[in-house]
């Protein structure tokens, strides 16, 4: 874990005054760590396993839900998110059992959002109705590309046709649908991406996650890249052009970007993900899941054991899958809030930042404003359209 020791300038102990989970809501993340196969670009905690003992896993999730619920009694739950791995490979009955337990554990908001990540293969499409009956009301589909050869290059198991078919089933099954595409792929031209994005927009989802391909260390792509074997990736200038083209097309289609890589029709933003970006509270359950929880006025970061078997064993034997629970100082929280909050177009509340941190951002804000990268208005700091594709540069400037 990073330096979570109280830094000398950290605000004194009672941070409860205005800073608690009510600022961002309360969500629940459930991690299902298994995939049918590993994708070469993915650095998420995913594993391929031949045999999964559903009973043991069900019991473990339920035990974890109860443990966390006991720490957070009476919180109103705004969202549940099944991520992975490939949660669409879960038995719908397992999803149902988990959601039933969730309902028993916390009172729920009227408009609770329950999302499940799904791969668009026929196998999974066959389970959609079961997921809906279990309570899932939103799916996020990993379509990734609308081009068969690129899908193969990305290590995906579905074809475009299959994806479209699964998408149609999803549209008839769930209230809300989002799907993911990856762009700035090998040898992809700006024109090709524009055409593909137009096609994606025409599929009429209410939400799109459009990610630039990122080469992560420890992935198959990362290894290939390090050996100079991953050619044809766009340079920064071309990548920036693609980014701006993406903003233009989605704006025109009524799906404006509300976060770095996320686009939605107004009101259809992912409520669960907005909890992260608003730096609200969320419990993380399942192997490798992270959480941020305010307990008795103190904010904690939690992290579960990553390896599925070890996590399962820990939950069964020791009644907790968490391996780390760190106290977050005011400064820690301030920078996490800044880092997450500037991703969303609405920006961050500088008053909230200054209740957490004694650091004066003004000189850096002024400098970045002069470059046209950020703007400050009535206590809100926002990254401009020009600043969005260089957010990491902005954050490095702002960090102490």
């Amino acid at each position: 874990m990073s330096a979570l020791v109280q830094s000398p300038q950290a605000a004194p102990a009672p941070l409860t005054r205005a800073e608690d989970w009510r600022n961002g809501g309360f969500g629940l993340y459930i991690h299902w760590p298994f995939c049918a196969s590993k994708c070469p670009y993915c650095d998420f905690n995913s594993h391929v396993s031949a045999e999964i003992e559903t009973d043991a896993w069900r019991n473990a999730y339920i035990s974890e839900l109860r443990r966390v619920a006991a720490l957070t009694p009476g919180r109103v739950l705004n969202s549940v998110f099944f991520g992975g791995g490939t949660p669409s490979l879960m038995d719908p009955e397992l999803v149902a059992a988990i959601l039933e337990e969730v309902r028993a554990c916390w009172p729920q908001g009227n408009d609770i959002e329950i999302t499940l990540e799904a791969n668009p293969t026929s196998v999974e499409a066959g389970r959609f109705r079961g997921f809906r009956d279990a309570g899932v009301n939103r799916v996020s589909m990993g379509i990734q590309a609308l081009n068969d050869s690129d899908l193969r290059a990305l290590g995906r198991l579905h074809s475009v046709e299959e994806a479209r078919h699964a998408f149609d089933i999803a549209r008839n099954t769930f209230e809300r649908i989002s799907f993911d595409l990856i762009y700035a792929r090998q040898d992809q031209t700006l024109a090709a991406w524009q055409a593909e994005l137009r096609e994606a927009i025409s599929m009429a989802a209410d939400h799109l996650s459009l990610y630039q391909l990122t080469i992560e260390q420890g992935t198959a792509f990362g290894d290939r890249y390090a050996r100079g074997r991953l050619k044809g990736l766009p340079d920064d200038d071309r990548a920036a052009d693609m980014y701006f083209a993406t903003q233009e097309l989605t704006d025109a289609a009524g799906l404006p970007g509300y976060e770095t890589s996320n686009h939605a029709a107004p009101g259809e933003e992912s409520r669960h993900n907005m909890i992260y970006w608003s730096y609200g509270d969320y419990a993380g359950i399942g192997p490798g899941a992270h959480g941020r929880l305010t307990l008795d006025g103190q904010r904690y970061g939690t992290e579960a054991i990553r390896a599925p078997a070890a996590w399962l064993n820990a939950v069964t034997e020791k009644d907790s899958g968490d391996v780390v629970k760190t106290t977050l100082s005011g400064e820690d929280q301030a920078w996490e809030y800044l880092m997450m909050g500037l991703r969303v177009t609405r920006g961050i509340d500088l008053t909230r930042f200054s209740t957490l941190s004694n650091h004066d951002l003004t000189p850096k804000i002024n400098e970045l404003t002069s470059y046209g990268l950020v703007e400050k208005q009535s206590g809100i700091l926002r990254v401009t359209k020009a600043g969005q594709p260089v957010l990491n540069g902005i954050l490095r400037e702002l960090l102490p």
């Binding site: 990073s2 920036a240 993380g284 490798g288 470059y371 969005q388 957010l391 990491n392």
Partner: protein, 599 residues
């Protein structure tokens, strides 16, 4: 004392990777000089940098006892010599200390540039040369063709070349026999006053300064009082030894022998390579010919990346200087870089070696500024100032004229690359002095300004001739020329560490090249950055580094928060390793890379 007729002194001349170290290892092993269990590869290259770069920086030697077929036991002294033009003087001294050379050529590769350069030193020292063809066991070896090549290119008889495989040991006994039968024994008068040539010296943390000597005339014993003829300093010998290759005490060294001396000498700088050592009483009156004092010709600033490490740098430089008399230093302050040292070196390799050692052995990150030569500035007042650092250039209104050091460069190059070499020399303001042919090789002599050579001439020469040229130079004195100080401005701020002296006619081209280079070397910032080259107040070249366009994490949800923050912090820390000039951060590597010319 050993009979002269039973001594053979030799060096090994070879290109990198042609098997010099392996052959030396085999000779040492085969004669049982080092016990099998103490053997390690490249036993004579003691510095890590030597092993890594495959070069020899310090001379080293080993004494081998060899019972020959004629029934006599011979003492064979191998001196391992440095092999780079920066150390040309040291090489020439080492060569003078022995009578013969083994010329090792890879039978799959043939004669290469470094071989030529070093053979040249051996020929100059009147060596008997025994060609040795190595890697004869490899299917790709072509001994006949390589022998012809040796005869054509070098002009020595290769009909009796020894065929070996240093790796397998095949033929190595023949090498030992050839050393005894084909190389001449040394000469010298045991009764004459002592004349010992100082071949090299180094600092040993237990023994103090160790001096390697070749006895030319006379004898030396433990306890003798000796005198360095150049410095006049006298010492009592504490220890007399030969290297096997570990130090083995001996009572007396006579003519033709090679050994080491310790004599409570405090610093390596008290010993001069090439100096003549004699006895304090009844010593020789005339020293051995050929001594030259070490003269730094290249200067540059060394600054700690982290200003807090200045004291560590001082301590490290003090320590290194104990072991290297040819390197000079004084404190320097730069507006941009803070406190550091202005250091003088024998050449660029020497500079790189010292810098590497400071960074590695002492773990200090360094910024190296543009290498410079010493200019003579003649003031209107009649005064002459030596300029070691372009940043110190006085106001031009007080300057009458400038002089720069010139060298006489001798380049040996195969015909096919001659055109490229002439162009390179011409581009570097050279004046051709001579051009002759020897077989398929041309010998080109050029009068060149040292400042055009100092930086990357050797690298460029190697690259335009695919490594087939050899290069040597001598200082020729100073000459007036139209030199100006070129400044570099990054985001309108002058960066003093990038100031260079250039010829007026070259300034524009050089300025443009430097701006283009810096545009590549400086990472994009959040704003666009003008990069300019200027003479006085006049901008002669300009480039613009555009602002950063893309750097954002595509996926960032609840699980990634900690890792993402760590990554940003790490990047921020990486930025702190750069130097801040106004609002611009310049990576340390830029200070030296910006000056390399790809013409």
């Amino acid at each position: 004392m050993i009979k002269l007729s039973n001594i053979r002194n030799f060096s090994i001349v070879a290109h990198i990777d042609h098997g010099k170290s392996t052959l030396a290892d085999r000779l040492i092993q085969l004669t049982g000089t080092v016990a099998e269990r103490d053997m390690q590869a490249q036993i004579l290259d003691s510095m890590d940098i030597e092993r890594e770069r495959g070069i020899t920086i310090k001379a080293n030697s080993v004494r081998i006892e060899y019972p020959a077929k004629d029934g006599e036991t011979y003492i064979l002294n191998l001196i391992d010599t440095p092999g780079h033009v920066d150390f040309a003087y040291e090489v020439s001294r080492s060569m003078r200390a022995v009578e013969g050379s083994l010329l090792v050529v890879d039978a799959t590769q043939g004669v290469e540039a470094q071989t030529l350069a070093n053979v040249y030193y051996a020929i100059e020292a009147d060596h008997e040369i025994v060609p040795v063809l190595n890697k004869i066991d490899l299917p790709a070896s072509e001994p006949e063709r390589i022998c012809e090549q040796i005869e054509d290119v070098i002009g020595i008889d290769a009909s009796e070349a020894v065929h070996i495989s240093a790796k397998t040991g095949l033929g190595v006994p023949d090498v030992l026999e050839a050393i005894v039968t084909r190389l001449p024994a040394p000469t010298g008068d045991p009764d004459a006053p002592l004349k010992a040539m100082l071949v090299d010296s180094w600092y040993d943390s237990y023994l103090g300064v160790v001096v390697m000597v070749r006895i030319m005339d006379g004898t030396v014993r433990r306890g003798d009082r000796i005198k360095m003829m150049q410095t006049g300093a006298t010492y009592g010998i504490d220890k007399l030894a030969v290297l096997k290759p570990q130090m083995t005490d001996i009572d007396v060294l006579g003519p033709g022998e090679i050994g080491v001396i310790t004599a409570s000498i405090k610093q390596v700088r008290d010993t001069r390579v090439g100096d003549t050592i004699t006895t304090e009483k009844r010593g020789a009156t005339v020293p051995l010919p050929g001594f030259k004092p070490a003269q730094p010709v290249v200067f540059c600033g060394l600054f700690p990346v982290d200003a807090a490490e200045f004291e560590d740098l001082r301590a490290a430089i003090d320590k290194l200087a104990l072991n290297d008399a040819s390197f000079s230093f004084e404190m320097e302050t730069s507006a941009a870089l803070g406190f550091g040292f202005r250091c003088g070196f024998l050449g660029l390799l020497h500079l790189e070696v010292i810098r590497d050692r400071l960074e590695r052995e002492y773990d200090i990150d360094l910024i190296t500024t543009a290498p410079s030569v010493i200019y003579h500035i003649h003031m209107r007042s009649g005064e002459m100032i030596e300029l070691h650092n372009p940043a110190d250039m006085p106001d031009l209104t007080y300057v009458d004229h400038l002089e720069e050091p010139r060298i006489k460069a001798t380049i040996l190059v195969p015909d096919e690359y001659l055109g490229d070499v002439l162009k390179l020399c011409q581009d570097r303001r050279g004046i051709q002095m001579d051009l002759t042919y020897a077989g398929a090789r041309a010998m080109v002599v050029y009068d060149l300004p040292l400042n055009e050579v100092v930086f990357d001439f050797y690298d460029r020469l190697k690259s335009v001739t695919k490594g087939y040229a050899s290069f040597d130079y001598q200082m020729m004195g100073y000459r007036e020329d139209a030199l100006v100080k070129m400044q570099v401005l990054v985001n309108e701020e002058p960066v003093d560490a990038l100031s260079t002296m250039v010829h007026r006619d070259r300034a524009e081209a050089r300025g443009r090249m430097m701006c283009e280079k810096l545009k590549e070397l400086i990472p994009r910032h959040m704003f666009k950055i003008p990069i300019q080259a200027a003479i006085g107040g006049r901008v002669i070249a300009r480039e613009t580094l555009s602002a950063m366009r893309k750097d954002v994490t595509a996926k960032c949800y609840g699980g990634d928060m900690t890792r993402k923050k760590k990554l940003l912090e790490k990047q921020k820390k990486g930025k702190k390793k750069m130097r801040q000039f106004g609002k611009v951060e310049i990576p340390q590597s830029a200070f030296i890379s910006a000056l390399k010319m790809d013409d």
